[in-house]
Amino acid sequence: MSISDWIGNEVKSSDVVLFMKGNPQFPQCGFSGQVVQILDYLGVPYKGINVLESDELRQGIKLYSQWPTIPQLYVKGEFVGGCDIIREMFQAGELQTLMKDKGVSMAVKASA
């Protein structure tokens, strides 16, 4: 299986997937950490994938999404954005709307 097939399979088999540096318990980059905080705050179940574990994955994810930086958030197989976009969407309430529209459950109905 190619790395691109592997990524495609991952983003389709979990509703919310975050490609990040480190893992949700120990993010190893401030930008990855910010997205973890937002997802945790919303109470969204997600799968964190540590790109530092494989150089092939770290490069492969950038090609897959045509996006040059980590973190990268996928919802229902679709690329949503990196740290800036996720933070701006969260602050505008758009991330919450997106999760709702895509049928992703949130533990907290955040109004922040």
């Binding site: 401030g30 996006w67 800036d84």
Partner: protein, 96 residues
């Protein structure tokens, strides 16, 4: 020494964004020093930048599209030494 390197990358980013978007407003901030000790930081390296850009080209574009446009203009820098780029892209008609 490091000051010279840092200024250089910042100037390149400014020039490329100016050429690509003819922005109404543009600010490129080098934040590399704030990330000392962080994984992507290299001592003396220009690694972390923030970009505030206002341009007509962003009118009617989604956040994702705007970021992709800026990333494309700076593809070389992102593939090289620039580790992180925070982007704030708006159209002139939008609130900052």
């Amino acid at each position: 020494m490091s000051y010279v390197t840092t200024m250089h990358t910042r100037d390149i980013i400014t020039r490329k964004l100016t050429e690509a978007f003819t922005p109404a407003d543009l600010e490129v901030i080098d934040e590399s020093d704030k990330h000392a000790g962080h994984a992507g930081h290299r001592p003396g390296g220009a690694t972390h930048f923030q970009v505030y850009i206002v341009a007509k080209a962003f009118q009617g574009k989604s956040r994702l599209e705007r970021h992709r446009m800026v990333n494309a203009a700076l593809a070389e820098e992102l593939a090289g030494g620039v580790h992180a780029l925070a982007i704030h892209a708006t159209a002139p008609s939008e609130p900052p």
